[in-house]
Amino acid sequence: MIITTTKGDMDDSLLEKKEGSIDNDNEYTTWVEYWLDRELVHRSAHVTLKKSPFLDLFAASLG
């Protein structure tokens, strides 16, 4: 697979791949990094938010 890097497009077989994730009440995030000779040459992240703004509205009672 070809990876876009700071060195140009490279085959992933030439790179060291690291992956991780964060899962908490606010988000589920995954990230992937590709390293070349101890240099970070690609990092992407994918965030899925679990919370969003929520507005309660009230209408006053009359009488």
């Binding site: 988000e27 040459v41 990092r43 703004p53 929520f54 507005l55 509205l57």
Partner: protein, 153 residues
């Protein structure tokens, strides 16, 4: 409060102000999504887009990206006295092939048609991107998960 009113608020059907901005019939405003570095103060008090402390880097244009908006706001009653008006962008927010080396943790959604007025702020764990893609996946557009929800209880 009438539930239909909630969806109509999101559609700018009602205007209680004599100082309303101009709207074009049957044309949605353009909304954009800008990213901010971790030191920025972007929160519920933010009233409009600002370039201060916005991320910068290869592949990122100041002001961010356009929000895909192919689904109109809607509303659903949960009872005879309560309901929810809601809206979600119809596509994920995708910043393709960018390099953002300063950590960022906030996205501001704002109305670029109406003087860049702020709509909502969403935060997440700090990120950097290197010759890669940053994707913010939008939630399902439902009464309980939509990105923006106005509710009566």
């Amino acid at each position: 409060m009438c539930t239909s009113f909630l969806g109509e608020l999101l559609s700018a059907t009602h205007n209680f102000s004599s100082a309303n901005p101009a709207h074009t019939a049957n044309t949605a405003d353009t909304f954009k999504a800008a990213l901010y570095v971790t030191t920025a103060t972007i929160n519920a008090a933010t009233t409009a887009y600002s370039a201060t402390n916005e991320v910068s880097g290869t592949g990122y244009t100041a002001g961010g990206i356009a929000v895909t908006n192919a689904t109109n706001p809607t509303s659903t009653n949960s009872s005879s006295t309560a309901g929810v008006g809601y809206w979600t962008p119809s596509g994920n927010l995708v910043y393709t092939t960018v390099t953002l080396t300063t950590a960022f943790d906030t996205v501001l959604i704002y109305n670029s048609t109406q003087s860049n007025k702020a709509v909502s702020v969403h935060t997440f764990g700090s990120q950097t991107i290197t010759a890669g893609t940053f994707t913010l996946t939008m939630p399902s557009n439902t009464t309980t998960t939509a990105l923006l929800r106005l509710s009566t209880t």
